[in-house]
């Protein structure tokens, strides 16, 4: 390894959010002129580390140095000023501003009288986009940009800073193969110019392709740092997971029964097209695809929180009224949404209130809801799912992600559903809980529940599903049986621009 002063040095950095220790001991040393991969499971603390480097969070403990100088950023502005550019995992664009304004916000080129020079700004954006090989109108509002385009805007913004350290948190998650290659070319150019780049991705092939060094994190701690050439993907996975992968997916075999959920020709302008599939009792159907492929939208439309333009949803032989979640619930549908903080839970409410949120009408006697009935239901289900919380009236904001997810599951299982749709059921959940959730889903399916599982984690889909549907650009691109569903087959079907050398980790 080179011995120059590292551009970035983090040692023993820790960060907790209330009771959640997101980062216990983050260590990362990035040399100038190198591209450094940071890998780890969901919730390993990668984004938290990045946010500390970018000045979004302040560390609780540890050392952060830039070019050998200790730094302590009080805000993103200071990090930016110190030459750190960060592409955060969730793009944060301003829908009301134009693309060009989004990119140059706060550092617009100025003309006479300190007035913004829009022409120069537009030219600058065109130049950036030319380098990235994309074709976006700098003057269009950011409102309505696809996730991929938002990501591109973020990338352009970060690159335009010309920083000594560029950190990219899963920039490729939403990009097509072509765009990924262009991004890599830009990153290599920066490296060759002596900049340091940190690259986070769940796709290990990308890591092998682009990076020279790789750091593995697990449960908020540093596990290892090696030259990419020195480790195999299998080794990396084992370090990330901390145990053998197989036991994570305790699949219980079951025999599918009759069709419970049937979706026919579902269509929504700009989002998904001609979506048809069915789910049988006792079956787990996986819905795979790239982020932004439209899987969540399909689930939301089926459940009724979104409307659709054409097609129909049939549950237990009866047509489901569209745009009416209450009807869906009555028909036996349940949806564990992908964003538990925003959609799954009323985080400001207590465990008890969340668990009883859907069932409370059933619990009421003469219209009056007795706290006892509510507490009994909550105690029952949170006990069954082993929710760890101080008390039933504890507010869920402070709970760990895994426990929050269990509360969401408890809420829906308490309704006694026939079909359970789970969207990213284990996102941001630690390994132990993950296995628990998998075991639970598997058991429920064995008891005759129909499960539709959306997941961006390929191993999860492959490990749990009896059948895999692959969504690409809002269309069902392939249906694969458990036997046919290899990582390669799924990725090939999922990636737009045909079957280029994409393969899964």
């Amino acid at each position: 390894m080179p011995n120059a002063t590292p551009t970035l040095r983090l040692e023993g950095v820790a960060k907790s959010f209330g009771p959640v220790a997101a980062l216990r001991s983050g260590t990362l040393i990035v040399q100038p002129g190198s591209i450094h991969a940071l890998v780890g499971e969901n919730g390993a603390g990668k984004s938290t580390l990045v946010k500390i480097v970018g000045g979004v969070h302040r560390r609780d403990a540890g050392v952060v140095e830039l070019d050998g100088e200790p730094v302590d950023f009080h805000g993103p502005a200071e990090a930016k000023a110190a030459g750190v550019a960060v592409i955060h995992q969730e793009p944060a664009s301003f829908p009301d501003l134009t693309v060009a304004e989004n990119i140059f916000l706060g550092r617009e080129p100025l003309g006479r009288f300190r007035r913004i020079d829009r022409r120069a700004m537009r030219e600058g954006v065109r130049e950036l986009f030319r380098n990235l090989g994309v074709d976006l109108d700098p003057d269009r509002p950011a409102e309505g940009l696809s996730i991929a385009d938002q990501q591109i805007v973020e990338i352009a913004k970060a690159i335009s800073l010309d920083a000594r350290l560029l950190v990219m948190d899963e920039p490729t998650a939403a990009l097509s193969a072509v765009e990924v290659r262009r991004l890599f070319a830009v990153a290599r150019g920066l490296r060759d110019a002596g900049h340091a780049v940190v690259f986070i991705s769940h796709r290990l092939d990308e890591v092998a392709d682009l990076c020279d060094t790789v750091t593995v994190m697990r449960d908020g701690e540093h596990v290892s740092t090696d030259a990419v050439a020195d480790v195999t993907p299998d080794q990396l996975v084992r370090r990330m997971v901390g145990r053998e992968v197989a036991e994570l997916y305790p699949k219980v075999p079951s025999t599918p029964g009759e069709v419970v959920l049937q979706v026919e020709g579902l269509e929504s302008t700009g989002t998904f097209h001609d979506v048809s599939f069915e789910v049988r009792a006792g079956e787990i159907v996986g819905l795979a695809g790239l982020v932004g492929a439209g899987r969540s939208e399909i689930a939301r439309a089926v459940f009724g929180v979104d409307r659709y333009d054409a097609g129909r949803v049939v549950v237990g032989g009866r047509n489901l009224r569209q745009g009416d979640p209450a009807a869906a619930i009555a028909a036996g549908l349940a949806l564990v949404p992908e964003d538990r903080r925003l959609q799954g839970l009323v985080t400001e409410s207590s465990v008890a209130r969340n668990v009883s949120a859907v069932s409370r009408r059933r619990l009421a006697r003469l219209g009056i809801l007795l706290p006892d009935a509510e507490a009994r239901l909550a105690r029952d289900w949170s006990g069954r799912l082993e929710v760890k919380a101080g008390a039933l009236d504890a507010v869920t904001t402070t709970m760990s992600g895994g426990n929050q997810q269990k509360v969401v599951l408890a809420k829906w299982l308490a309704t006694g559903p026939k079909v359970l749709i789970v969207d990213e059921p284990t996102r941001g959940i630690d390994v132990g809980t993950k296995a628990e959730v998998h075991r639970l889903l598997s058991t429920l399916a064995a008891e005759g529940l129909a499960v539709l599982m959306i997941s961006s984690e390929l191993p999860e889909v492959l490990g749990m599903a009896d059948r895999v549907l692959v969504v690409r650009e809002g269309r069902i691109a392939a249906e694969l049986s458990r036997a046919e569903a290899t990582p390669e087959a799924v990725m090939r079907a999922a990636t737009p621009g045909a079957s280029e050398s994409e393969s899964a980790a």
Binding site: H74, P337, L345, E348, S349, V358, A391, D393, K411
Partner: protein
């Protein structure tokens, strides 16, 4: 697992509502001791009569604000219902019919607001600023220069009479009934839970099968109908139906509700707090007037109380846990960057001017 993290008395005492109730009690005790004339029986009578309309309207307003919306048109509905009630009486209709029609009209006014907010998705603040002008305009337009008077004594007396020899006006019973109904609805029915859930996260509520739109519509209809009822009371109390009745009362109602501990962002609030908030404003006004303090000072006291009641818990809470970036008034849940939110250091991450 335990059901409660704290014993019941701590849970009851450590609420925002208790603060308002405590201040109310202190104000009452101090006024009784120090203000001449305050401890007389007339004080209670006048207090109840004076706060009645604000209290009535504050009840549905509590539910609306608890969902994170607002209804600024209430005082205009009071005016409009006062006018319809008067005109129908003038036209020779029975007062019960007039009352019924006025309340129905109020419900319709509320339904218009509700439809625009819930189904057309328009911001309630803007919509009800518009309907505030619209309904007041209709009221003033309908009655023009005149006021309708000459309501039967039996009705006007009913609005102000005391219960037997007690200092409590008859309407106290009605008020208590309304308070009880709204308290039960908000705190002990699934509907009330829906209301609070919508205020905390309307997105999550929708994903739990709550019909957010219908709930909002119901609340606005309720607000319109109760405001209209308050309008009828107003008319009878003053024996005069006028288009400009209760002008500006919307801000009094909102101030009382917020003083009672309801969060303007929604999701938090309790009826007993709001009742205390309404009474607190009434008691302060009554005591200060008895002391010969003029309206101006009363305005200052009420305004400061409002600001302090919002800022103080913030500062107190901020010392315990520095909380997240809510620098900005009514705002949507962020679509992204969930991580940036829970940051306990958010305070320092925001707005570092160089």
């Amino acid at each position: 697992m335990r059901t409660h993290a704290r014993p019941w008395w701590q849970r009851a005492l450590l609420t925002r509502e208790m603060l308002t109730i405590l201040i109310l009690v202190v104000a009452w005790v101090v006024a009784s001791a120090a203000v001449q004339g305050f401890d007389g029986p007339l004080t209670i009578t006048y207090l109840v009569l004076d706060v009645a309309p604000v209290l009535l309207i504050a009840l549905p307003m509590t539910l609306i604000i608890a969902t994170g919306e607002i209804d600024l048109s209430v005082a205009s509905v009071v005016g409009l219902s006062s006018v319809t009630f008067g005109l129908l009486h003038q036209a020779g209709l029975g007062l019960w019919v007039a009352l019924l029609v006025s309340v129905l009209l109020g419900a319709v006014c509320g339904a218009v607001n509700g439809a625009l907010v819930a189904y057309a998705g328009l911001p309630s603040l803007a919509v009800t600023i518009g309907s505030l002008a619209l309904y007041r305009g209709l009221a003033v337009g309908l009655l023009g220069t005149t006021a309708v008077t000459g309501f039967p004594e039996s009705w006007t007396d009913g609005a102000t009479e005391n219960l037997g020899e007690s200092p409590y006006p008859v309407i106290t019973l009605g008020l208590l009934l309304m308070i009880a109904v709204f308290a039960v609805v908000l705190h002990a029915t699934p509907f009330g839970r829906d209301v609070l859930d919508i205020g905390r996260s309307s997105e999550a509520a929708r994903f739990s099968g709550v019909d957010v739109k219908r709930t909002l519509l119901i609340l606005f209809v309720l607000s319109g109908a109760v405001s209209a009822l308050a309008g009828v009371y107003y008319t009878l109390r003053y024996g005069s139906a006028r288009g400009d009745n209760a002008t500006g009362m919307e801000l009094q109602v909102v101030a009382a509700v917020l003083l009672g501990g309801v969060s303007i962002f929604g999701g938090r609030g309790a009826i007993h707090g709001v009742v205390a908030g309404v009474l607190l404003i009434g008691v302060l006004g009554s005591a200060l007037r008895l002391e010969g303090v003029t309206v101006n000072v009363i305005n200052i006291v009420i305004g400061s109380a409002l600001v302090v009641s919002v800022v103080a818990p913030r500062i107190a809470g901020g010392l315990r846990v520095r909380r997240r970036s809510a620098a900005i008034a009514p705002h949507e849940p962020p679509r992204f960057a969930a991580g940036a939110h829970g940051d306990p250091d958010g305070g320092s991450a925001v707005g570092q001017g160089t």
